[in-house]
Amino acid sequence: MSRRPGSAEPGGARGERGERPVVPRAEFGSYYGRPVLHEPVWRAPGAPGYLFLGGLAGASSALAGFAQLSGNGELSRAAKVGAAGAVGLSMVALVHDLGRPVRFLNMLRVFKVTSPMSIGSWLLTAYGPAAGGAAASAVTGRLPRAGAAATAGAAAFGLGVASYTAALLCDTAVPAWHEGHREMPYVFVGSAATAAGGLGMLAVRPQRAGQAVRFAVLGAATELTAKSLLLRRLGASAQPYQSGRAGRLMEAGEVLTAAGLAGAVLAGRSRAAAALSGAALLAASALTRFGVFEAGRASARDPKYTVAPQRDRLRGQAGVTRGT
């Protein structure tokens, strides 16, 4: 580790530059080791479940749109039904997590670009009916032209639904989330594509699932690359992603991703093997979301993740000032 994550113990800046303190330093670089921040009130499984389901829905709609254009009706239909189901469930998870669920419509009082949750509410308002309409038309075979329009709308808004959740988490004071804001959108869309591909493999005959497999492979590659970039850039601040409950969740996600990908490529025409691989990829995507969520909570609980990076920043600025 090149950089100490700072100290919950005695004064982070003690004894720097050989300066003799006039008064003895505080006995701690924090207030009795208590957190500086409030831990997010969002709870598992609702909140990370929403991240997973929103990603699954949005990416499935995108896949459904292009699969339909390519003439793969079987995959397109399955992805549309999956998207509608996932967005329905995700709405339940969202409303359930509110402190005052009956007021969920207050989200639509305003439109604020400074609030990813506001943007997300409007995205879901546009996306939900489109995804539902696309699925209904695909299942019943009725209103094909309206169904095509809904499919296109769901694919477009789905891109937003699958990606905005990264800004939702990162636009907070939670250190592990905020500091990962450059890479998180790519981790999330990668995870979303992994899940949508997995669902396609689970729901469609292997003969018709080639597109789902390719989507999952692209998604998993994106997710793993973005995740490793995130961890490398964060340095010591990446610790919440690598230790404790969050670390175990993230690791399990990676193992299942690898297993699912191997299964996807090797399954051939075995329906059971393909379905199992698809289920593994779905689970992998969910585990990543739960891991990211838990890492944020852990980083908010420990004052060192708040104080140490800020101290480093101040020291950096002081260095620049002294140098000039």
């Binding site: 670089g29 409030h38 207050n106 990606s163 004071a173 591909g197 080639g210 996807a264």
Partner: protein
């Protein structure tokens, strides 16, 4: 919203109040805080805040522990005890009484009423709003308890009350100051550690006070510094700022908080790029027809 735009601008004017009173705030001078907690009590009484736990923390005389949904003033107690008696450096020259270097720091913490307020920025319902005094308040009849403000606050101030599901924090006694009264905590403070007034005036007074303390030569106050007073800091300056005697983190305050929404434009750009990448991924995956896996 860029930092440049926010700097030096009056938040009430930015929120659309054409004609408004001066920006009001708190200056909490911790060098005269005696830890009596009258502010905590007065705040609870005036704002009819429910009891939120009666337990002993075991860490000091501070059994309130932190700001919370029902605790809008919190007095921190920091006991810096030196075991081995030693004269304070500088005590002889200044004529200040010699001590053993031990000291108690006490500080009454409160919502900072940031110029660039993360809670207000991220609130998806508009429940959090800027008042004509430049302060930030929650409209309880609008808040749906989404909890976004709780995660966004860089100071751990605002919180959700489990009994009513809504987010709550200090209002800088919006009701009292609208009638020309002093907020309950400042009114009750027996040492004028909590001072209320127009922010410009408070900032001048604070600068004078910190100079006075440093010039006094007394070792206990040699570390006097202002916290949250600077409009060029990461939150555009606080409406409630402090005179501290040690590093902010010693009091449980973040040393260099930055409002999260300063990075939001960059986050949206990455979100847009990631969304586009997802579209390209779906397109590439479907370039070949619905055939078999590669």
């Amino acid at each position: 919203m860029t930092a440049d735009l926010a700097h030096g601008l009056d938040p009430a004017a930015r929120a659309g109040y054409a004609d408004h009173p001066p920006r009001m705030g708190f200056f909490t001078d911790t060098s005269v805080c005696i830890g009596c907690k009258a502010c905590e009590v007065a705040c609870k009484e005036w704002n009819a805040l429910p009891e939120d736990g009666l337990q002993l923390t075991g860490m000091s005389y501070d059994n309130t522990a932190a700001l919370n949904a029902s605790t809008w003033r919190h007095v921190a107690f920091i006991e810096q005890i030196t075991r081995v008696p030693q004269p304070l450096p500088g005590a002889a020259e200044s004529g200040a009484p010699a001590g053993d270097g031990s000291r108690w720091l006490m500080s009454s913490d409160v919502c900072k009423h940031c110029t660039e307020a993360a809670c207000l920025d991220v609130c998806p319902t508009g429940a959090l709003m800027r008042t004509e005094f430049g302060t930030v308040v929650v409209q309880d009849d609008v808040c749906n308890g989404c909890g976004y403000c709780v995660a966004a606050c860089p100071f751990g101030v605002i919180a959700r009350r489990e009994t009513d599901g809504g987010a709550h924090k200090c209002t800088l006694c919006y009701d009292r100051i609208s009638d020309g009264l002093t907020p309950a905590c400042a009114k009750a403070c027996p040492t004028e550690s909590i001072q209320f007034g127009p922010l410009d005036e408070l900032r001048q007074r604070a600068q004078a006070r910190v100079s006075e303390l440093r010039e006094s030569g007394a070792a206990e106050v040699a570390g006097a510094r202002l916290y949250g007073h600077d409009p060029a800091d990461g939150i555009g300056g606080a409406g409630a700022f402090f005179l501290l005697l040690d590093e902010p983190e010693v009091y449980g305050l973040p040393p260099d908080p930055v409002v999260t929404t300063r990075d939001l434009p960059r986050m949206w750009r990455h979100v847009a790029a990631a969304g586009a990448a997802l579209a390209v991924g779906a397109l590439v995956a479907c370039l070949r027809g619905g055939g078999e896996a590669p």
